[in-house]
Amino acid sequence: MASEGVVAGLAAPSGLRSPSGPAAPPPGLEVMRPRRRGTAAWPWIDRAGYWLCWAAGIGLCVIALAIVLYMLVEGLSYLSPHLFVTSPAPSLQQSRAGGFLDPIEGTFILTAVGIAVAAPIGIALAVWLNEYGRPSGLARAVESAIEMLAGAPSVVLAIFGLLLFSQSALGFLSQSTAGGAVTGKSFLTAGAIMAILALPLIVGATREGLALIPNHMREASHALGKTRATTIRRVLLPSVRVNIAEGTVLGMGRIIGDTAIVVILLGATLKTEPASSVPVIGLLRGTGSTLSNYVYYNSPAGEGNAHQKAYAAAFVLLIIVLALNFAVTRLAGRRERGGAGARGSWRLRTWRLRWSE
């Protein structure tokens, strides 16, 4: 922008883009602005800052591209279809050590369990904090406790989970050894602790959405004779759907990427091992692994130490993260564009509200 010559005095105030322009010449004199009204007139220190900014921005992108491309090249060269369909097998020979079918399966199960626990609790907490929040002391305490959870190290959460779920009263969530000691390791226990990781993200995103809903929407619903509970259920929650989805996807990203909780709370096995033959419950009470765990196991720091497999699995992990990222970008775009659309859907919603109850 700002490459055209402008008649002084008629020049539109273009805000920040033109603070460095020359002082206005006498009226009637036409001035040509330089083609790039850039940083030429700035003191050198300001110019240095300007270029440093660009260097930082571009540097960040170069690092991102380097990592993604490196993983792409390394991952693709080791990736083969059979890795996706075979289970890991303990073998010294890499060709016989199997693929990562079970870890992929485990990633999805664990994410599903974690989100199934975190989403309802997170949404309920956000609604309470934003719509009720009484007594205010409790609200403030809950708020700061959730903020603390966002900063709590996942490895500490994991060892707390192990302590909690190896109590014999909670033995039904995992398995017991022959001696009667509860292991505390299963998809359910790991998922419950994963939910703690996702909770602050879901609460934050939902609250952000709720805070942006203008009060007149609530008042209109009340004027139609709806209770506050109904208003929340039929008006507020539907209009923050996009925010909830965004928080949930961010939470999924956190769950998929975390390794410490998996290693400590999901057992050291690479294969999915159901606790019993009961279809769903047995699987959830059993142990297994996830992709992040598989990458760690096959890295030089882990026991497997097969870097081809680690690269291949990390590549798949990165693709999942990219997909989630794409989802967040799409959702954020919808939220941003949502101005008019959201109002429209709100009108539709009052209409539906009137006829459905």
Binding site: P13, P19, I63, R218, G257, V263, Y296
Partner: protein, 344 residues
């Protein structure tokens, strides 16, 4: 914002009978009570978590006293003795001096956060103030992607691609020999840990700082521009100053991430409970360290062993306390911004 909380819904008073199906006011009250109970339960659970970790950690603190935070002997040997169940001669089984581990945490976190703070502030300015709309549209997803990359992937790239390079090209034989009598220099070391940690936390900070910069009221910047101040000075004097509390909050969150990072650091930091010495000059950067969180993660198999578990929970308690202090600092940092009605 207690939106809509000030007035009770009219239906609670007048329209109860019309919605007998939903129970009217009674159901409304029950909803609030249920939600409040859930909130209270969450609070109790979180408090219980902190208390349990401390109860479990107490024997270790009690046996060592304040010397728990001190430095004496080799912390790796002490941990190994605990794992094997044989007390070191002349000491109890719970004997541990964790200063090298705490020092390892400090010496990785602080430089990484400083690097990330500078880099992310500059990148956020670039993103919000200088980049044109199409550039911004491409940069934003990239930042978000970087923030979402699992730490184990960063660790893998670092340990497989960067560590051998550092080992082969950056550490000279003379340097290796100069400290050979205390520690062996390898490719996975403090420098790699700091660099990767900084790369890991920068995108998180960029996202938060860019959000704060974007929410600076345009009128403030226009006011500065109208006074003839150039763009860069406007950004530094107005935008950055307004966003200062948000920058502090972002720093706090990033520090919490760095403190708690276990996987990546256990892969790249060298995993040696060594008291890296800044007085060694450049060699300092090539010395191995072992941060607290990474230690908990690596020794987690020992959680079934009594003394070992007390020690690990004690380290966890120290990390939890740091997280609480950090989140308090973050809360304090956000307060000034609220005066101007800006959400951080």
């Amino acid at each position: 914002m207690p939106a809509g909380a000030a007035h009770r819904s009219p239906s609670a008073r007048f329209g109860g009978g019309l919605r007998a199906r939903f129970g009217g006011a009674g159901a409304d009250r029950r909803t609030e009570q249920a939600l409040r109970a859930l909130a209270a339960l969450t609070l109790v659970l979180i408090a219980a978590m902190v208390v349990t970790v401390f109860i479990k950690a107490w024997p270790s603190f009690k046996a060592n006293g304040l010397a728990w935070f001190g430095s004496e002997g080799d912390v790796d040997t002490q941990l190994r003795a605990m794992n094997e169940g044989q007390a070191l001669p002349g000491h109890s089984i719970l004997y541990i001096r964790t200063w090298p581990l705490i020092w390892g945490t400090i010496v990785t976190t602080v430089p990484a956060v400083i690097i990330a703070l500078i880099g992310s502030t500059l990148a956020a300015i670039c993103l919000t103030e200088f980049a044109s709309a199409p550039v911004r549209r491409t940069l934003e997803p990239i930042v978000r992607l970087l923030a979402g990359v699992p730490s184990v992937v960063y660790g893998l790239v670092a340990v497989l691609a960067l560590a051998p390079f550092i080992n082969d090209h950056l550490i000279s034989e003379a340097r290796r020999k100069s400290v050979a009598y205390v520690v062996q220099l390898e490719g996975d070391n403090l420098m790699l840990a700091i660099v990767i940690l900084a790369i890991m936390i920068t995108p998180i900070m960029v996202a938060l700082i860019a959000g704060a910069l974007a929410s600076v009221p345009p009128a403030w910047k226009e006011g500065s521009a109208a006074l003839g101040v150039n763009r860069w000075r406007t950004i530094v004097r107005v935008s950055l100053r307004t966003a200062r509390p948000a920058i502090a909050a972002a720093t706090v969150l990033a520090t919490a991430r760095a403190l708690g990072e276990a996987i990546m650091l256990s892969m790249v930091a060298g995993s040696r409970g060594f008291d890296a010495n800044p007085l060694d000059g450049l060699t300092f950067l090539f010395e191995p360290v072992r941060p607290l969180a990474a230690t908990i993660f690596q020794e987690s198999e020992g959680l079934t062993i009594g003394p070992m578990s007390h020690t690990l929970y004690a380290m966890g308690a120290v990390l939890l306390v740091s997280a609480v202090l950090l989140s308090f600092a973050g809360w304090a940092a956000k307060q000034p911004l609220k005066r101007y009605g800006i959400r951080a």
